[in-house]
């Protein structure tokens, strides 16, 4: 099963401001980005994130799946996630 790991030193505010102390890089996320990122930090699995997102937000599974994969790819691109 795919495992996601967010670096332990990444700081995220409630408004979606993200700071990476090792590189000094900063990012902002929208509400859905914060929702997913925080769950990833808390080591939720992919299935658990899907279940919670579909339960709380007005979205179908196919669209969410496309957007989730795109978001993970972005996090990977910015070295904000390790996938194993």
């Amino acid at each position: 099963m795919t495992k996601f790991e967010i670096p332990g030193n990444v700081a995220v505010s409630d408004s979606g401001f993200l700071f990476m102390p090792t590189t000094g890089e900063t990012f902002t996320m929208n509400e859905m980005g914060i929702f997913i990122f925080k769950m990833l930090q808390q080591k939720y699995t992919r299935n658990e994130i899907f279940e919670k997102a579909l339960d709380e937000f007005d979205i179908d599974k196919t669209t969410f799946e496309k957007d989730f994969e795109d978001f993970i790819a972005q996090l990977k691109n910015y070295s904000l996630i390790k996938i194993s």
């Binding site: 996320m29 929208n30 509400e31 859905m32 007005d58 978001f71 972005q74």
Partner: protein
């Protein structure tokens, strides 16, 4: 069960320091959800996507405003609608209803204007190519022929002499007004005396009546002063004609070229902040013309062939998101159903592009591509847009000038064009093309008709 929260695609945006400009960037793309009160969704559901939409109200308002501005500065003003800017019949008709003459640059444009009911005497026939047949027609119908070169002048002399006709002519004059590029490929040059030679040649022929002088110094002009210089130079010629030949010209045609509020690619500030207003162009032109030492009632009519500045903001291109993807750099890429075959002006303009629906405040830098399987089909290589879903719409603004004349059928057909009328109704003004329309012009030789 509790109501579910509104969903927006997850976005993460990296901050880049040192690249911000001091004016900041657009905080969020504000939606453009209707045109003159008609919802974008309704327009697309009725007429399809992509869709060109024109606002009758905006066209009339632009024309009336420009006329008022010039008439408050100069006593006699006449606009002539530049057909090449947009020659859809409905568009031309609005301008003609507002009192504009027609300014054409080809025989088919001339015929189009005549079919719309414009009298020959109210047509200005410009351009470097006028066939013998076209010239004969224009001479017979008393059109105002603006001569571009000596070969054309001699052809008109030949026609009028052979058939004993009188032609109403003017010459196009090119000149140095301090701007670059200098448009010296059209007309006769002022500085080297060529224009004066042409004037003398015309005035020595009894079949030609010199009625005016014309110039058109460039396009998307960012300097109003250049028009003052141009007007002064035409006034010098007019003064010479009065002094040497005791002839008062009927008109001076200052052409067009006023910039619209479209921002050019590579332009730092938005066009609204750097482009001269119509008032500034009018001030410059009228100041130049008033150097002519004549009584008010002897002053020539001022003709303007303004195109872009009167129509650009009255045209919209509605388009639909086909797909979202990522480029190898991580940049968001959005594919829409309107390509560069419909938006020729995207090669030099940074169009204002807005979502047609409410969206979140977070924006991403996105490249916007059309549906053509061609690498050149890029509407914008970097635009801040909110998260857009497949099937949502975008509105591309300021597309009234040149896009529906320079568009082409290439991979995709040309779509419907509608006009939102002043009373709020929507009229189809050009039907979308289909395969039958395309094949109607093709001929296949008999021995190629069987396909195994």
């Amino acid at each position: 069960m509790a109501e579910k929260k509104k969903y927006e695609r997850p976005i993460i945006t990296k901050h880049y320091s040192g690249l911000m400009n001091k004016f900041g960037s657009r905080a969020a793309a504000s939606p453009k959800s209707e045109i003159d009160g008609v919802p974008i969704k309704k327009l697309i559901s009725e007429f399809g996507s992509p869709l060109f939409v024109f606002s009758e109200r905006q066209i009339r308002s632009n024309q009336r405003n420009a006329l008022r501005i010039f008439k408050t500065r100069y006593p006699k003003v006449q606009f002539a609608w530049s057909y090449k800017t947009n020659y859809l019949n409905a568009i031309c008709s609005v301008f003609h209803q507002e009192g504009s003459w027609a300014e054409v640059v080809s025989e088919f444009e001339y015929d189009k204007a005549r079919r719309l009911g414009v009298k020959g005497e109210n047509i200005i026939f410009n351009g470097p190519h006028k066939s013998k047949e076209a010239l004969l027609k224009a001479i017979n119908e008393k059109a105002k022929i603006h001569i571009d070169h000596f070969d054309e002048l001699y052809e008109i002399i030949e026609i009028t002499t052979e058939m004993n006709l009188k032609a109403n002519v003017a010459i196009r004059v090119n000149m140095d007004t301090g701007i670059y590029p200098k448009w010296d490929r059209f007309g006769f040059n002022y500085e080297n005396g060529e224009a004066w030679q042409a004037i003398k040649r015309i005035l020595s022929n009894k079949n030609l009546k010199l009625i005016g002088l014309h110039t058109h110094i460039g396009t998307y002009m960012m300097s109003a002063d250049a028009y003052k210089i141009a007007a002064s130079k035409l006034v010098n010629l007019a003064r010479g004609i009065k002094d040497e030949f005791d002839l008062l010209l009927e008109y001076i045609d200052m052409g067009g070229g006023f910039a619209s509020h479209n921002t050019l690619l590579g332009q730092y500030l938005p066009a609204e902040e750097v482009v001269p207003s119509i008032e500034q162009f009018a001030d410059a032109i009228s100041t130049g013309l008033f150097e002519l030492p004549l009584k008010i009632d002897e002053m020539p009519l001022l003709i303007l062939e303004t195109g872009r500045a009167l129509i650009d903001d009255a045209g919209y291109l509605l388009t639909t998101v086909l797909a979202n993807k990522r480029l190898s750099t991580g940049q968001r890429a959005i594919i829409v159903d309107a390509g560069v075959n419909l938006l020729f002006t995207s090669f030099w303009y940074k169009h204002r592009i807005s979502p047609a629906q409410e969206s979140g405040i977070h924006v991403e830098d996105a490249a916007l591509f059309g549906p053509l399987c061609m690498n050149i089909d890029c509407l914008s290589d970097g635009i801040l847009l909110p998260a857009l879903k497949k099937g949502e719409h975008l509105v591309i603004e300021y597309v009234g000038a040149y896009d529906t004349t320079q568009w082409m059928q290439f991979i995709m057909m040309r779509p419907n064009v509608v006009m939102v009328m002043e009373d709020g109704t929507v009229e189809l003004i050009r039907k979308s093309e289909d395969l039958d329309y395309l094949l109607d012009r093709e001929v296949i030789p008999d021995n190629l008709k069987s396909v195994k």
